[in-house]
């Protein structure tokens, strides 16, 4: 058992936002069959959104590109899914939310409160949704304001999810911390695109999108490493984790826990596989607690 911003987790692997998080039943399946330590819902906003036209996600040689466009049924539409997840998943359920302003973030958070999420994750980092996500998350003042606005109306932990598509992620992390965030989550996808050379068309319906999976792991490790140095609050690591080795690496960089997104492509029980792998590693190395891994690389000089 393991505590993260006050939440009790069976293991430090968490389902990342926007992945298998559209329905309550899907979240439950990831929790129960996949054995994730916690699950994050897909990002929910103030109004229903169908997202970008397909193709909305493609597999590359290295990683994945996606431009879902924040499809979501809005907070009223999602409430029953959240309730299902809370009722049946047996793990902490974190509601990922987005909005175009502090007021919208507040509205969505308040709107989902009846579903009793264990925490909120603020998506200020989606790279392919105009006026949302990274549009806010590249601006430290807005990040602080959004964080403070949500903290104001909820009494559960608030995590802020950061974009790597900035010159200095620690400056955005600091803003989240100043706004009262209980943790930051790094990273959302890296801006990217692919073109079909037979036709000349960009492959994604939205033309460009965000890169995830193996390709971005070194980028995520670096962001987590820098945030660990810069912030007091925990950093949750996400980006390209698909093995227990990746998870250990991310924790050594400074992650208090890890989220896993694209790697559910490989298998759903990636969560139990990774947490078992971490346990075996701890035993082999003689560590008494997974917390000893957190930030370890900072001590090796």
């Amino acid at each position: 058992m393991y505590t993260l911003t006050g939440l009790k987790l069976e293991n430090p692997t968490i389902l990342a936002a926007g992945v298998l998080g559209t329905t309550g039943a899907s979240l439950c399946r990831v929790a129960r069959q996949g054995r994730a330590g916690a699950v994050v819902t897909k990002s929910i906003g103030p109004a229903p959104k169908t997202g970008h036209p397909n193709p909305s996600m493609i597999k590359l040689d290295c990683g994945f590109l996606n431009a879902m466009g924040l499809p979501n049924p809005s907070y009223p539409g999602f409430l029953q899914e959240l309730e299902t997840a809370k009722k049946d998943s047996d793990v902490p359920v974190i509601a990922s939310i987005f909005g175009g302003s502090p007021a919208e973030f507040k509205e969505v958070a308040e709107g989902l409160l009846p579903g009793k999420p264990d925490a909120f994750e603020l998506n200020v980092s989606c790279p392919h949704a105009e006026g949302y996500g990274a549009a806010i998350g590249s601006n430290p003042c807005l990040v602080e304001a959004v964080t403070a606005a949500v903290k104001d109306v909820v009494n559960v932990p608030v995590w802020v999810k950061l974009t790597p598509n900035v010159s200095d992620i620690t400056c955005i992390g600091n803003a989240a911390e100043s706004g009262g965030a209980d943790a930051v989550v790094a990273i959302n996808t890296v801006k990217g695109m692919a073109i079909d050379i037979e036709s000349g068309y960009p492959v994604l319906g939205n033309r460009s999108g965000g890169l995830s999976g193996k390709a971005v792991k070194p980028v995520a490790v670096k962001c987590v490493y820098d945030l660990y140095t810069a912030l007091e609050i925990p950093v949750i690591g996400v980006g390209g984790i698909s093995s227990w080795q990746d998870a250990v690496e991310m924790m050594m960089a400074g992650a208090a826990a890890v989220q896993i997104g694209s790697a559910v492509y490989d298998r759903l029980d990636i969560f139990s596989e990774i947490s078992a792998g971490i346990e075996t590693f701890l035993q082999r190395k003689g560590y008494s607690d997974v917390k000893e891994l957190i930030g370890l690389s900072h001590e090796m000089v």
């Binding site: 926007g18 298998l20 559209t22 997202g51 909305s56 996600m57 036709s199 492959v203």
Partner: protein, 259 residues
């Protein structure tokens, strides 16, 4: 995997609103029931069952399918796949029943052929609104017996496929494979449940797909949380017990929509 470029080599008109597009690429490993994501460039990418190793059979319903209907031989589209879990093939000793409604014939015709090639005795219940809308009647007939139903009675039994089904001795079959409009599949599901033969049935579901590869979660069904694009589209009847089948589906935003 980026979409591969498929060039149309032949177009067959199966009915006024259904066409088969043959392309210059063979999905050699495809299992009947598996689908491809068809990228109509500049418009949308949509799931389509493979109606053979090198064809899709498309009903015109909206923007992307209409755009497909504008394409001619020599034109091309993108294809990713084959994806998902197909129908399980019978062995030689097994007797197979197919229940196909409308364009649901698309994934079932290659299944009928594969099953009959495997030596299974094949019967097909083929339904459509009207005689002209029956898809792949000959392909099913070559594989075995065909029972036809049309809503308007223009051919075969007047009524629904369930009207034919209810008169068959379902205990005689080892496998029952179903694909068609959801309302039809829901009726068939109830009938098979009543007859206690769900355990040997398989249904191919349609849900709104975004990623098509099992990551985004757009296509998950209640209450199992199974992904239609990856754990399906073909599910055993038992997997669908206590499911949303026939009650609601979801739109692109994830909102429930009554069926």
């Amino acid at each position: 995997m980026l979409p591969l470029n498929a060039t149309i080599v032949k177009i067959n008109e199966e009915s006024p609103s259904v066409r088969t597009f043959f392309f210059d690429y063979q999905f050699e490993t495809m299992k009947p029931g598996q689908f491809v994501m068809v990228w109509v460039r500049g418009v949308d990418e949509i799931p389509m069952g493979l109606s053979s190793k090198n064809s899709i059979t498309v009903q015109r319903v909206g923007e992307a399918t209409s755009k497909l209907f504008e394409l001619k031989e020599g034109d091309s589209f993108g294809l990713r796949g084959p994806f998902g879990v197909g129908f399980s093939l019978p062995s030689k000793e097994e007797k197979t029943l197919i229940v196909a409604g409308g364009v649901g014939s698309a994934p079932l015709a290659p299944y009928a052929e594969a099953a009959s090639a495997a030596g299974s005795e094949m019967h097909t219940v083929l339904g459509a609104r009207s005689e002209g809308d029956l898809i792949f009647e000959e392909r099913f007939a070559e594989a075995g017996n065909v029972y036809i139903s049309t809503d308007d009675g223009s051919k075969g039994t007047k009524g629904f496929v369930t009207d034919v089904l209810s008169r068959l001795d379902l205990s005689a079959y080892d496998r029952i494979a179903v694909c068609g409009p959801e309302i039809m599949m829901a009726s068939v599901f109830r009938l098979l449940e009543d007859r206690k033969v769900l355990a040997k049935s398989e249904f191919s579901l349609h849900r709104y797909f975004k990623c098509g590869i099992g990551v985004c979660g757009a296509c998950c069904i209640d209450r199992s949380g199974l992904r239609v694009c990856r754990d399906g589209p073909v599910f055993s009847g038992v997997q669908l017990l206590d499911s949303e089948l026939g009650r609601y589906t979801r739109d692109a935003s994830g909102r429930r929509v009554k069926i």
